[in-house]
């Protein structure tokens, strides 16, 4: 989770990843940021993220992102 937070901070520093659960709904992460995150997650955790995974439920919070990574690693 720490590694994930580091990635998020690096790509979009102006967000409160500890508490925010509306990263997509409130437009904090745009499509450019989403794809940058995907690229970093694939490199850091060895997962493969398909277009089907790019839904608000998977990107609205750091926890949701972490859940997706864990699910794809399993």
């Amino acid at each position: 989770m720490e590694k994930l937070l580091e990635i998020l901070e690096d790509i979009q520093p102006e967000a409160d990843y500890e508490n925010c659960t509306t990263l997509i709904d409130d437009g904090i992460l745009d499509s450019f940021a989403i794809l940058s995150i995907v690229s970093e997650l694939e490199d850091a955790f060895g997962v493969s993220i398909t277009p089907a995974e790019i839904i608000p439920e998977n990107f609205n919070s750091a926890q949701a992102l972490w859940n997706m990574v864990e699910r794809l690693q399993a």
Binding site: G27, L35, S39, A52
Partner: protein, 510 residues
């Protein structure tokens, strides 16, 4: 049957009254019946294309869903991918053939000095919209984002729902499907809200867009006759016309759907308050933008070849560039498609690329912007900076309109050059603005357009500030509201242009 014609109003009234009178379980069939009546009224010859899209979408969706249930995951994915590609090729192939064959022939004739004959092709109304909506549904079924529809007639309604088929919004099955097929009872509050939205749409279309249209047409039709001031009047007028026409049309479409208790996706969110081109596309033609994002931008960016390219760049250049360059390329490709989607002409391709390149460069320079703002002590949340961003975006958008509206790329470039090098500010007071009275009632048109722009601006500003003026109207006494609506109903035809005198909706031609 134009959306602003009396015939259409009678048609909608009949559909709405019948919808709430018949047994609830037949309501969706009623909508389907009226949707086909409406489509046939626009020209019966092209209904076959709609039927082909409907049938192929239904069959492929149905079989993909069956295969997903019967076979194991990998085998199902392999078979389904083939089915999906087949459907995409058929439907986008049909769209491409009808829309771009003559463009291709014209370019081949120019390039090879050939004399190929143009094809006599009739473009079915709304084909770009219903094709995108249907293919979005199939991709959602393929990605298991929604269940396939098992009743063919229900899918036929999703593809052809009459308020939206001609100019969108491009709906998603997961949101629209459910609403189309569930029964609705009369909700008077929603009815009134929808009625007010329809009136506002007619206001934007008939008073703003159709009033300014002849001025815009005259300037863009004769670019060599006018100086720079007219170029600015022309392009600002086009901004007003396009916004009034398209967003007004959307208000009418959403309002009519609301009369049936169906809420369509928003297509506009006060685009001229955008602070960047990216933000503009989040507010202008939203459903096309999200369609492109979900079904083109993400799949291209996450494709295997793009992933390989990204890895290559990360190894040979830098990690950051390896991450951002592929996204920029995907972005430019998306806007190239957006440009082509708008029409078969080079000017639209340039229009798309212009937007794509600006967004791509902004993406690449995100960190630089952050540093520059820090160095210049610019506060992101300051009013001054916010207004500067809005004005900068408005300028960039208006530059793009030159390509969108001018007849050719050459004309667009000529007009832009003229704006700067041949300004002639004296035309503002020497009577030239009347254009030798070639346009009927031109003085009144200027006054009406400026007043209508002010009304739209004030309403948009209130909405932007989240002050919902419309909400307070509903608290007024019914008699007062009734009089207000009557006045609006009286004013629109009085000040606006009659549909017989002016053209249909711009986006209905796409």
């Amino acid at each position: 049957m134009s959306l602003t014609s009396l015939m259409f109003i009678i048609f909608v009234l009949t559909a709405v009254i019948g919808y709430y009178c018949i047994p609830k379980r037949y309501q969706w069939l009623w909508l389907l019946f009226f949707s086909y009546i409406y489509y046939l009224s626009t020209g019966a010859r092209t209904v076959y294309y709609l039927l082909i899209t409907t049938a192929s979408t239904y069959l492929v969706g149905y079989f993909m869903s069956r295969i997903q249930k019967d076979k194991d995951d990998r085998a199902a994915r392999r078979v389904n991918r083939r089915l999906l590609v087949l459907a995409l090729l058929l439907n986008f192939g049909m769209l491409a053939y009808l829309k771009y064959t003559n463009f291709l022939i014209a370019n081949l004739n120019d390039l090879l000095h050939a004399q190929l004959n143009f094809k006599d092709l009739l473009l079915p109304l709304g084909i770009s919209f219903y094709t995108f909506q249907s293919m979005g549904y199939l991709l959602d079924v393929y990605w298991k984002k929604c269940e396939a529809e098992t009743t063919p007639l229900r899918l036929a309604l999703f593809v052809s729902f009459f308020p939206q088929i001609l100019q969108g919004p491009i709906g998603r099955f997961s949101r629209l499907g459910k609403q189309l097929f569930t029964s609705h009872t009369v909700d008077w509050e929603q009815m009134e809200r929808s009625f007010l939205l329809i009136l506002y749409g007619f206001f934007k279309k008939m008073i703003l867009a159709d009033t300014v249209a002849p001025i815009v047409d005259h300037i863009f039709g004769n670019p060599t006759q006018f100086s720079g001031v007219f170029m600015i009047i022309g392009v600002l007028g086009y901004s007003a016309q396009l916004y009034g026409d398209f967003s007004g049309g959307m208000d009418v479409v959403q309002g009519i759907s609301g009369l049936f208790g169906i809420t369509l996706d928003d297509n506009f969110k006060r685009p001229f308050f955008a602070i960047s081109i990216t933000d503009f596309w989040h507010r202008w033609h939203i459903t096309l933008g999200t369609w492109m994002k979900d079904y083109v931008f993400y799949p291209i960016s996450l494709s295997k070849w793009m992933s390989r390219f990204s890895k290559y760049l990360k190894t040979h250049l830098s990690k950051k560039l390896g991450r951002t360059i592929p996204i920029c390329i995907a972005n430019i490709l998306v806007f190239l498609i957006v440009g082509v989607w708008h029409g078969a002409a080079w000017k639209y391709i340039i229009y798309g690329l212009y937007n794509g390149v600006i967004i791509g460069i902004s993406g690449l320079l995100t960190n630089c912007y952050r540093d520059w703002k820090k160095a210049l002590h610019i506060q992101d949340k300051s009013h001054g900076w916010h207004i500067f961003q809005i004005l900068r975006t408005f300028l960039l958008v208006n530059i793009s309109w030159f390509f969108d509206r001018a007849d050719t790329v050459k004309d667009a470039l000529f007009m832009m050059k003229n704006t700067i090098l041949n300004f002639h500010i004296s035309v503002l007071w020497d009577g030239s603005l009347l254009m030798d009275n070639t346009i009927l009632h031109i003085q009144y048109r200027y006054i009406i357009v400026i007043a209508a722009c002010l009304v739209v601006f004030i309403i948009s500003l209130l909405q932007e500030k989240k002050i919902t003026f419309a909400q307070s109207i509903y608290t007024w006494k019914p008699a007062v509201r009734f009089v207000l609506y009557l006045v609006i109903l009286f004013v629109i035809p009085l000040l606006g242009q009659t549909p017989m005198a002016e053209g249909g909706f711009i986006y209905a031609q796409f």
